[in-house]
Symmetry: C2
């Protein structure tokens, strides 16, 4: 033995041209993510959640990153140069850490089994920041699943992963090509499907006051620009609008989802509290 | 008369080098906005709201923009080249319209006079997208004022204006250098000040159930990264947390604000409904 194992690892600092770094860098593109079933998570919070979730396939860290976050030294970290780390990261401050993670979405039937008391179903939502924020909010509101349906953003898109602030690793995520099939599956699983739409005939607060939110519920959200298509609106059990008390014409998707999911969470907790 | 007025105007299409365009372009920077009391609003929705609000000092439009939105032809539109418009716009699709608008924020005392039943008070919030989204959500929830306090983003920042989706032109906006003074002014105006914080000792839903949200209320929101400083937390009437039912560690600022503002709006409407 000529060298201490730690020194040996330091001898092998990966650069931006090292094949494993080059291969990981390709995961910045959706096609490579889809083909290989992997994705990237950057920064200490996301890496920590990925480690906890058992999703990490490979961890790249700079020497400075490991010095700042020694808790990751024990895991399978490969030392990389600052340039290599920058090539793998999409933000300016990943704090020296990028993990290659295994995708872990579940079949739709598994996501809806139980069923969970609260589900967020995103139909054709394309904006990764909005989708990731809804994931985070759904997790906070206690949702048991989030479903990405139709022509939706890849939940493993870097911006979505970052906007979810770790919640991608907490909440079961289901995916389905056909939003109508996802709605049908939610109803078959015993969930009431409520479509959130600015033109809904039910006012969210009236529905809450009338006790209409206590049952297990899947909230259906569409893309901000177009909203939900007619067929999906018709397939839902009710079409619900967040009341607009001021002069705004609408809410942004993530804000509307926050109001709907938390109004449901409150109603469900109050309903359970009554019996206790 | 040698030329028809319309043709004459077409003879004078402004380019990116025309002094009035050059001067307007400077408003992309905060310093010029602060000095001149002007700002830019781009795209048909924002321009429409600016016109309604009587805030437009000057409107630049491409020939294509006026063709698509003939409702602006009657106003004081100056024709500009596509290049000139691109130089004034921050988005790729402003649809040929950029307005120079007069700033119209009001003194803090005016924003709080009445007082409004619901106010959003942003302390040191730096992210323009978050601030603009809170403005939009506050408008939707029926807030009577939004206050930007402390080392906060410029409400006339282009990204904030866009994220507000027109609401900047609907809701009275107050500004104050000192968040503590803004909190004191809100309390002096008769508002209950509730600080939104992940570490609050009051649970939002418990507070709502106990009738604690029916009074005129100012919600105090801090920057996501640091939260609210001790002094401001202590100055508020109560420190309120949005309950986290799942595993998320926190909500993003705009989502937390949506939940808080709408829970207040519901409580206030229900309280008024009881008496009617």
């Amino acid at each position: 033995m000529h060298s201490h194992p730690r020194e040996k690892r330091l001898d092998h600092v990966f650069t931006a041209r090292t094949p494993r770094v080059v291969a990981a860098r390709k995961l910045l593109r959706r096609r490579a993510r889809d083909e290989r079933g992997l994705f990237l998570a950057e920064g200490p919070q996301a890496v920590r959640e990925a480690v906890r979730a058992g999703a990490v396939a490979e961890l790249f860290a700079t020497a400075a990153g490991l010095a700042r976050h020694p808790e990751f030294a024990a895991t399978l970290a490969s030392l990389v140069t600052e340039d290599a780390l920058a090539a793998l990261a999409e933000t300016v401050a990943p704090q020296g850490l990028v993990a290659v993670c295994r995708q872990f979405d579940v079949p739709l039937a598994d996501a809806l089994s139980g069923p969970p008391r609260l589900v967020a179903l995103l139909a054709d939502v394309r904006d990764p920041g909005n989708a990731g924020t809804v994931l985070r909010t759904a997790d906070a509101a206690g949702a048991g699943a989030v479903v990405f349906a139709g022509d939706a953003v890849d939940p493993y898109n870097g911006k979505c992963v970052r906007a979810s602030a770790g919640s991608l690793f907490h909440v079961p995520v289901g995916r389905h090509r056909d939003p109508a099939a996802a709605v049908a599956a939610a109803r078959a699983a015993g969930l009431t499907v409520l479509a959130a739409t600015g033109y809904g005939d039910s006012d969210l607060h009236d529905l809450a006051a009338a006790g209409g939110l206590a049952r297990p519920t899947a909230w259906l959200f569409g893309a901000e620009a177009h909203g939900l298509p007619e067929g999906l609106l018709a397939a839902a059990d009710a079409r619900v609008r967040v009341p607009l008390y001021g002069r705004a014409e609408s809410l942004n998707l993530a804000a509307a989802a926050a109001v709907c999911l938390y109004t449901s969470a409150r109603a469900q907790h109050e309903a359970r509290g009554v019996g206790s």
